[in-house]
């Protein structure tokens, strides 16, 4: 197996006496989808926050493309090539779909300090944004105000913004959240192809999607990884069944 792109090394996070994350070591390898599952309150969001930089681990390290990024800020991690989507759509709701995508392209260009020419008239930004919208199938809606989009379309836009960054790895926090069966299936198909471009660390509650997509699954319970393995291994694992799937072994 090739070298991991993204790796956490025994990270712990304490909030006072609460250990939200204990000795979590996971890695993400090229070409794979690594799913993190776990019941509510298992510490998935805390883990994502530490990987993406909004929380700093109490101990342990986070590595990305071979460098230690434990003390690197969120924006700098994004510039290194970590693309993130949020559980609850984090979009500029007053702006158009295109503007949101252009924002991503602008971040990727690294040159926001331009004050004269309109951003939407910039050919490079525009092309990058439109091709990302094209890929998620939102080109038709690009002039719509983001607030007027359906929930599913917002989820698609969320992915499109991450695409504009052409990241080296994706971290997706419940991309299927709130999607209907149809939308969920479309997005599953899309992520399936996306993994060849950049590996995906996928936090997801939709088990159908997880079992369909994941190359590996890690199960997080009370801040600990209790098992990591292939879909079949996880399905068979008695501790997982007990802790998470809620069945008697």
């Amino acid at each position: 197996m090739s070298e991991a792109i993204l790796k956490t090394e025994r990270i712990c996070k304490n909030f006072g006496a609460l250990q939200a994350c204990q000795d979590v070591s996971i890695d993400l390898r090229p070409g794979e989808i690594h799913a993190i599952i776990g019941p509510n309150g298992a510490g998935k969001s805390t883990l994502i926050a530490q990987i993406c930089g909004s929380l700093r681990p109490t101990s342990g390290t986070v590595e990305f493309t071979g460098r230690d990024i434990t003390d690197t800020g969120t924006a700098a991690r994004a510039r290194l090539g970590l693309g993130r989507t949020f559980q609850i759509s984090a979009l500029a709701m007053e702006d158009s779909v295109l503007q949101n995508a252009v924002l991503g392209a602008l971040g990727a260009s690294g040159h926001p300090w331009r004050f004269w020419r309109p951003a939407l008239a910039d050919k490079d930004l525009r092309m990058r944004a439109e091709s990302a919208l094209q890929r998620v199938g939102l080109v038709e809606q690009m002039h719509a105000r983001c607030a007027d989009l359906s929930h599913g379309q917002r989820r698609q836009l969320e992915v499109a913004v991450a695409l504009t960054l052409a990241p080296k790895a994706f971290v997706m926090d419940e991309p299927m959240a709130g999607l209907g069966a149809g939308g969920s299936r479309t997005l599953t198909g899309f992520l399936d192809e996306l993994r060849a471009e950049a590996p995906i660390l996928l936090v997801e509650h939709d088990m159908d999607a997880v079992f369909a997509l994941a190359d590996r699954i890690s199960v997080l319970v009370y801040g600990r990884i209790i098992a990591t393995g292939s879909v079949d291994e996880i399905r068979r694992d008695p501790t997982v069944r007990e802790a998470y799937l809620g069945e008697d072994p």
């Binding site: 924006a75 500029a92 602008l106 004050f115 309109p118 951003a119």
Partner: protein, 327 residues
């Protein structure tokens, strides 16, 4: 409902037509009144960049207005008393030249905005409002006790500062300068709103976490917006002092900061011509209702209340409808 561009054009036309009419009708006081409108609009246009686009509710913009005013006051005071402003490490003389005063006011206000911004932007929401208010009060009480420049009584400048080729003591000529500067600032603002920086700043106001995850630093975007905003309000302060030929600590008062916010809310937060319409309404009320009763602020409060309750986009929003996404 009318098109926002048409409304902006009408407002601009009004700013040109009214003083020309006043000139023809020999009503110099009306020209002074419209000059006041234009200068307040300029100050509020500065605040609108921070507040409207950047979402930074600064209750301390009087700092920059006052710095502009005192830059003019101090420079002109030394020029009229023929004393140098500083002798060490360099000799700095006072000046009566408007362009020099403007540039100094812009630079000093920008510097102050940079320092205040770096310290205040660590906070947000109500704490940001309070910390900017605190800076405003610091400057206010400092100038009150700054006896070298008049302390509480302020400074009078006997002759309005000069601009090459113009006689600034003629009201219409001074007005022309002010309205010219307002046009330049509004034009630059309209470019800025649609520029990459404006797009990013606009998103940073709405959702900073998104801006961060695309690799941009929302703090830096907001800091620059705050600096630009302070610089513009500083320029307005220098003009305001020149209009009155007088500066006093009142320019630093929190009521001044509050008035600028009120202007923007009346006109329309984040709307290009919001500050202009706000200033027109404000000065008109101040002039007419102020003539009827000293307590005219009651009516201003009532109008503000109505706007906040029923017309969140201010008067510009009321007249032109909701702003469409910039396409």
């Amino acid at each position: 409902m009318i098109n926002e561009r048409i409304l902006n054009g009408l407002l601009m036309l009004g700013l040109i037509a009214v003083p020309l009419w006043a000139l023809w009708a020999d009503e110099p006081f009306t020209i002074t009144l419209t000059t006041r409108v234009v200068i307040l609009a300029l100050a509020a246009a500065g605040l609108n960049i921070a507040l409207g686009i950047g979402g930074l509710v600064s209750l301390g913009h009087a700092v920059f207005f006052g710095i502009g005013g005192y830059t003019m006051g101090v420079l002109a005071y030394h020029a009229q008393t023929f004393t140098p402003l500083a002798e060490w490490p360099w000799v700095i003389e006072g000046t009566k030249s408007m362009p020099v005063i403007w540039v100094s006011a812009i630079l000093l206000a920008a510097l102050a905005a940079f320092v205040i911004g770096i310290l205040s932007l660590r906070t947000s929401g109500v704490y940001f409002i309070m910390i900017t208010l605190a800076f405003g009060q610091m400057f206010f009480f400092f100038t009150i006790s700054w006896s070298a420049y008049g302390g509480e009584d302020g400074l009078s400048i006997y002759v309005r500062n000069g601009f090459p080729g113009l006689n600034t003591l003629v009201p219409i000529q001074f007005y022309g300068l002010c309205v010219g500067l307002l046009c330049v600032v509004l034009f630059l603002t309209s470019r800025l709103i649609h520029s990459p920086f404006g797009l990013a700043l606009n998103a940073a106001r709405q959702i900073p976490s998104r801006v961060e995850t695309v690799g941009l630093n929302p703090m830096r975007l907001k800091l620059l917006a705050f600096v630009i905003s302070g610089a513009v309000t500083g320029l307005a302060g220098a003009l305001f002092a020149d209009l009155n030929r007088f500066v006093s600590p009142t320019m630093f008062s929190w009521q001044m900061s509050g008035e600028l916010i009120v202007l923007i809310i009346i006109g329309g937060v984040g709307r290009l011509f919001g500050p202009v319409l706000g200033a027109i309404v404000f000065v008109a009320l101040e002039h007419w209702l102020g003539g009827i009763s000293d307590y005219w602020h009651i009516f201003l409060g009532l109008i503000l209340l109505l706007i906040v309750l029923f017309a969140r986009g201010g008067l510009v929003g009321l007249l032109t409808g909701k702003e469409g996404p910039h396409v």
